[in-house]
Symmetry: C2
Subunit: 383 residues, 2 copies
DNA sequence: GTTTCGAATGTTATCGATAACAAATGTTGT
DNA sequence: ACAACATTTGTTATCGATAACATTCGAAAC
């Protein structure tokens, strides 16, 4: 009880001096530390934090009983639990999951790797995952690969050191070493946002090629024939490549020729790049009357560039996107797109992972499942 | 060496059957598992993974030497290290950071809490942080609070169980219990995106009120007088509230009256909500000739709604945003906004955290610093 | 009243690494 | 050649929790 005295000591919290003029319009980014104010940092001292043994001693029970009092289904009498929780509150004990995990061999982590978190599709998926996992007290270790399979490999290796109980990946392309690491990790893996031909384990996704194909059909139904495609230079973004492949396949199936493709920059291709791409497209193939963009963001860039150049959308050229980002719903004209429930991909992946973990732990043999997520072409003003 | 045999056994990876028609345009989100394919899941078996002791035995050295061979600055002979790394590669040993951290009392984690990851400002900050931290092998545990201080408190409590070596927070408002938890955690804390009056510890941010004030000045310089403000209903998003306060202060300082404020929905306020808000604004105060929006996203919604209604921007009404999102650069008219280097906030926070950790570990007394990040009004077509 | 059983609690070993100290080996200077 | 020291390696204790088994105690069953 004496142990933590002094650590929580009150420190003077000086009021910040204000300088309302600083930084008002002008100057480049600047940052200067001014260590001249006097918040105390005593609380950062390296005194040992209370452990379960401290709680045990102070409450008069054994450490094991304390441990049980903190678990849900454990057999502890109500009065005991109450007393223990009282002590915990009093001394501010915070359990150390690191130690617990080492002993129980359950880290409480799930790892998820996405290409980038700065894309509402993937961040929605991450939210779905978090929601599914947090119900069971699992934490999400999130990493982003920047669309690089090399970085993915590094991340997989780094994450596995935390002994995650499962891993969620985006897409079906991984380096050889990554696949080896995953296999010897011996944990459930779920690949998402894709339907890989040779999955590592389980899958929650959809066929990007089919979605793209569906969009071509939609445009053809509405009378467009000279349909172009705008995407990033591939081999990094395999989902983008699949969409392009689906476009090409559909064009040839429908006897509409080879199609017109502008590839541009490294993924994710930005709004600005979409604008540049449409200019190039129209210059090279003036007959193009519709374009499919690899994502809504580039589609939006296309439309804004058309505005600038006085090309009416969809009059001069129709524009379709992918992903149903908020901007495509809100912009004018609103953008025809392929909608996929990104949040749901995460939620389903999380739930599948949980049930798989449960079943493995129960000793069942789990046959890897593939959960197909529906997509849908949403027709809006831009086509 | 025999131990891990069989775990890496080759399993049949059956090719997925394809069904290209499924999901083509129509139907609501559906997901059905089809566990009828035959990927093997043998590799998921619960055999024990190799440990450092295994590496030690197979290489003929002690576990301690293996541990040193994996550290950077440790004294091991070149041949020894080579031999050990060979064994590690051969048996596929992956170190367990959990165990290492327990022993060394360094978890290798930093926690960051943001309001939402689905906002490029915060995800950029998260990227900056990751970049700063990964140089030192630290991993980021990311959580999102949904703009709720209650959820923040829960997350802080949950994250502290992982014994992070530092924590990055967004904003300066925290519950009492959260502050207590942070103090007794005795680790460096950095609050970002704000300049709190009573910081917990260190700060990397800017004054949202001042930024907003600067925007009012910008509009006034350009001749606007009836300036309105559109934001979310406050008390959750304190940065949004600060921006509103700065707006109100500037209006009254400049003798432009109390201003006209539309508050709308819970933050983050969306593009759609921005559209609804401007309609309400113009109906209620037709004399308004300029609006400042709490973020670029709502500003974009405003502009699109103006398009729809035939109100020219900036002719009928000028529009300003906040945050310099990509959409504001690319849309037409492009949006005048306040630009803040979000990535830099993360990078600086990460570096400050690292140096603080170093100095504390070296036994130095660290005076909490405040790093001010510059912001800048960027004038574009919408004003 | 004894037996039986189940709930509540305690004891000991262990998870997989690293710190701290100890020992062995090699190297340099005179 | 030998002290003095640096480099490399090994030993033991430990981090903070939980698993597995052992024990205690009281209530129900006969």
């Amino acid at each position: 009880m004496a142990q933590q005295d002094g650590r929580l000591g009150q420190e003077g919290m000086a009021t910040e001096e204000k300088d309302p003029k600083t930084g008002t319009a002008g100057g480049t980014m600047r940052a200067d530390g001014n260590p001249d104010d006097s918040r105390g940092s005593l609380f950062r001292s390296n005194l040992p934090r209370p452990t379960m043994a401290d709680v045990a001693r102070l409450s008069g029970f054994s450490a094991m009983t304390v441990s049980r009092a903190l678990k849900d289904g454990a057999s502890v009498s109500a009065t005991t639990r109450e007393r223990i929780l009282g002590v915990i509150e009093e001394i501010g004990y915070v359990p150390d999951l690191t130690a617990g995990g080492l002993s129980s061999k359950r880290s409480g982590f799930i790892t998820a790797l996405v290409p980038t978190i700065n894309n509402s599709n993937f961040s929605d998926t991450a939210c779905g995952l978090t929601d599914a996992l947090s119900e069971r007290g699992l934490q999400l270790l999130l990493g982003y690969t920047d669309y690089s399979s090399g970085r993915e490999e590094e991340l997989i290796s780094a994450m596995l050191r935390r002994r995650p109980e499962g891993m969620i990946l985006t897409g079906g392309f991984h380096t050889e070493r990554a696949r080896r690491l995953l296999e010897s990790a011996a944990i459930p893996i779920i690949e998402t946002w894709d339907l890989p031909e040779a999955p590592v384990d389980q899958v929650v996704g959809f066929s990007n090629a089919d979605a793209s194909r569906a969009m071509v059909h939609h445009l053809v139904e509405r009378g467009y024939r000279n349909i172009g495609f705008i995407g990033g230079s591939s081999n990094r973004d395999t989902r983008g490549a699949d969409r392009r492949a689906g476009y090409e396949a559909a064009m040839s199936e429908l006897g509409l020729g080879e199609g017109h493709i502008i590839t541009f920059g490294t993924p994710p291709i930005s709004m600005e790049q979409g604008g540049q791409a449409i200019a190039q497209m129209i210059e090279q193939w003036p007959e193009v009357d519709a374009v499919i963009c690899v994502s809504d963001l580039s589609a939006f860039g296309v439309i804004m560039e058309c505005h600038r150049r006085g090309w009416s959308v969809p009059g001069r050229v129709a524009v379709a996107g992918f992903g149903d980002f908020e901007v495509s719903r809100c912009c004018w004209p609103s953008i025809t797109t392929v909608t996929v429930n990104s949040y749901d991909i995460g939620k389903q992946a999380g739930e599948l992972l949980l049930s798989t973990i449960d079943r493995i732990r129960a000793g069942e043999e789990v046959a890897p499942a593939t959960v197909k997520i529906d997509f849908k072409v949403v027709s809006r003003e831009s086509t």
